[in-house]
Amino acid sequence: MSRAFVNTVAVARLEWRRLLVRPLAWVLAALTLAWLAWNFTLLLGGFLAGQIQRAALPDGPGFTDLVGVPLLGQLAQLAFLVVPLLCMSVIAGERRNGTLPLLFAAGVPASRIVLGKYLAVLGWLLLWLLLTLAMPLALTHATHVDWGKLAAATLGLALMLAALAAIGVACSSFASHPALAAAAALVIALALWSVNLGAQMAGINGGAINWLAMSTHLQPLLRGLVSTADIVWFALLIVLALALATRRLAADKERN
C-alpha cells in the first residue's frame, strides 16, 4: 500500500470515528430520517389512494415516480441544511481546537487531510442515502419498481451529496469558526442551485448560466436520464472544491 493511501485512510478513520461519537451527526440523522419516514408514509398513502384512477391510464406514473423519486427529492432539500452542518467542523473545528498541526506534524500532506476528511463525511452521507432508500426498497415485493429510474435518481442524489460535501469541506477549510463555515456552505449551495432562476423565469433554457446551476444537472437524473455531461459537471465541482480546500489548508502551514 502506498504511503499516500495509508495517510488518507488514517485521516478518514480518525474523522469517521469523530463523526460517530459526535451527537450532532446522530441528531441530524435521526431527525431527518424521522422526517423522511413521515413523508414516505404520506407519499405512500397518496399513491395507494390514487391507484384506481391510475389503473385506467396506460402509461401512468408508478410507485417509483410517485413515492421513490419524490422521497429522494425531499432528501435533496434536507441535504442543503444537513451537509453544511455535518461538514462545518471537519477543518474549522480542528483549526479552532489546535489539533490541525498534529496532522501536519504527522507528515500528512494537506491533500490527504482534505481527502481523508471528505471521504469520512461522504461515507456518512451515503449511509444516510441508503437508509432513506431502504424505505421504498422495503416495498419492492409488493409493487413494481422502475429500477432504472430509481438507480438514476440514486446516482443523482449521491452526486449531489458528494458535491455538497466537497463545498462544505472547502468552506470549513476557509473559515475560522465552524458556524461561519456552515453559513457559507449553505449560501454557496443555494446560490449554485438557483443561479439560473432569472434565466428560467425569462424562458431561457440554455447558455452558461443554466449550465452553471446544479438543478440543471440533477433534475434529468431524477427523471431517469443519465448523461455523461451531468456526471462530469458534478465531478468538476467536487474536484474544484477539494482543490481549493487543499490549497487553503496547505497555506495554513505557511501562514500560521
Binding site: R3, A10, R13, P101, L102, F104, A105, A106, P109, K253
Partner: protein, 254 residues
Amino acid sequence: MTSPPPASPKTVLQLDRVSRRRASRAAVQDLSLSLQSGQVMGLLGVNGAGKSTTLSMIAGALRPDSGGIELNGEDFLEHPELARTQIGWLPERAPVWAELSVDEHLDAHGRLRGLNGAALRQARTAIIERLELQPLARRLAGVLSQGQRQRLGLACALLHRPALLVLDEPANALDPVQVAALRALIREQAASGTAVILSTHLLAEVTAVCDRVAILHEGILRHDGAVLADDHAALEKTFFGIAMNGNTESARAA
C-alpha cells in the same frame, strides 16, 4: 519502550539559518543549531522569544520562511513526510480530539505514524504501561485535566519510537511526582539514543535533564552551550542577563 543506544552519536537535527515571521514580526531569525542522538537540549526564553515557533518548525507543523532543516542528513523541508516516523511532538497545551478516548487517541496517532495491527497494539500497550495511563485508557480526552492531557500528548509523541522528540513545555500542569517521572522518561529516551529538544520556562528543568541549553531572545539565538550539572546559578545568570539586557555581552558582564 527503549531500544539499544547507537554506537556513536550522529547528528539527528540540523537547523541552518532558519527564519520565520509571525503576526508581521520576525518570530525566529537566522537560527542555526544542531542536535545529536542521545542529546537533550533545553530551549529557554521569555514569552514571545520564539520557542514554540522554533519547535513547530522542527516538528513539521510550520514551514520556515527561509533556511534549511535536516533530519538525519535528509532535507526535511523537501521531505516533510520524514516527520511521520522520525519525530514525536508534544505541542504546547497538548491539544486533543475531545470526542476520542485515550485509547482511540493512541490508535489514531499510531495509524497516522504508519503503525497498524499487532505493531500498533503492542506499541499502545507499552506506552500506556510506561506512562501509567491504564486508569484513563477509556476516558474521553475532552474531560481530562491539563496534566492528564500532557501525559496523553507525551504518550502520542513517544508511541512510534521517534529519533527526535520535540517537547513544548512538557512539565506544564504536572504535579511534582509527575515532573520527576517526566525527567526520568526524558533521561531514559536520551539513553536509548533519542535526541530530545524541549522548551521550558523552568531553569531547574534544564539543569535537571539537559546536556545543552539554547537561549532565544526576540527570535535570535543568544546562547548555545553545555549545561553543567547542578550549576543552576550560572544558568540563571546567563538567562537573566539575556532576558533583561538582550545580549550575551551584558550577561557575561553580569
